[in-house]
């Protein structure tokens, strides 16, 4: 391969990299993730999980998750799963949506057992999975000590 062809191929390869590494946020061997995705790739992107950077205590932390989707009958978000890294019950919540939702956004208040990485996985109508992960610092953990 000459230098010119190598450069051309390298340029072509860039968009594929920008698309995001599959399973960047998730462990494919995590049984909880596997039970949701049945081993399919989980791509980073399209999902926006919003949490504060620091929570004074983990008893009640505002959480919202939004997925980019037209929410039509042909293309919509089927489900959004919220997974905790450190809570005693890691499967925090699942929300089922559909074209009648109009907007793929759900918010609630959650308990967090210490600083951790929170993960949101969205399942789309075409069967693909997308994710977002957010690190949050929790100064006083919930669940295992009081409250």
């Amino acid at each position: 391969m000459n230098r010119r062809r190598f450069v051309a191929l390298a340029v072509l390869a860039v968009p594929a990299r920008a698309f995001g590494q599959a399973n960047a946020h998730v462990s494919t061997t995590d049984p909880l993730v596997f039970s949701l995705t049945k081993g399919k790739n989980v791509y980073p992107g399209r999902v926006k999980l919003e949490l504060p950077k620091i929570a004074e205590n983990g008893h009640s932390v505002a959480m919202s998750v939004r997925v980019e989707s037209a929410m039509t009958a042909a293309e919509h978000v089927r489900a959004v799963h919220l997974i905790s890294e450190k809570n005693p019950v890691r499967e925090l919540a699942s929300f089922w949506l559909g074209p009648h939702s109009g907007r793929a956004e759900v918010a609630s208040r959650i308990r967090l057992n210490g600083s951790q990485r929170m993960l949101a996985i969205a399942e789309l109508s075409d069967g693909s999975f997308w994710s977002d992960a957010v690190d949050i610092e929790v100064q006083e953990a919930a669940c295992t000590d009081g409250g």
């Binding site: 009640s60 905790s84 009648h100 939702s101 759900v106 208040r109």
Partner: protein
């Protein structure tokens, strides 16, 4: 029967996406908490939540004790016809809760 408060817009245009907020009075006991005398408080959290609009399911959630006490849920739905929003939930003690709100579509 648990108390709840629902917030929806007073009226919506057909096809408009409306925000629905519901706040349910519930301890969402984790099962890790102890009374002053050392007895463990058994786990009791709302695990299922469904919202129906004119009889058709529009939103469903499975929750855990990882949701804070007095759970708040905020979600969206597209207004179709004027009709009832029926909320239903079930906790680990098999206690059912229901709530109703009327969505007026102009």
């Amino acid at each position: 029967m648990a108390l709840s408060r629902i917030q929806i817009p007073p009226e919506a245009r057909r096809g408009e996406v409306v925000e629905v907020r519901i706040l349910i009075q519930h301890p969402m006991e984790t099962g890790f908490r102890h009374e002053a005398d050392g007895r463990r408080v058994p786990r009791n959290a709302i695990h299922s939540f469904v919202c129906r609009y004119n009889g058709a399911e529009v939103f469903r959630a499975t929750l855990s004790a990882g949701i804070a006490a007095n759970p708040m849920l905020r979600f969206f739905l597209r207004a179709g016809e004027t009709g009832d929003l029926d909320f239903w939930w079930l906790d680990d003690d098999d206690m059912e809760g229901t709530a109703k709100a009327r969505l007026v579509v102009t």
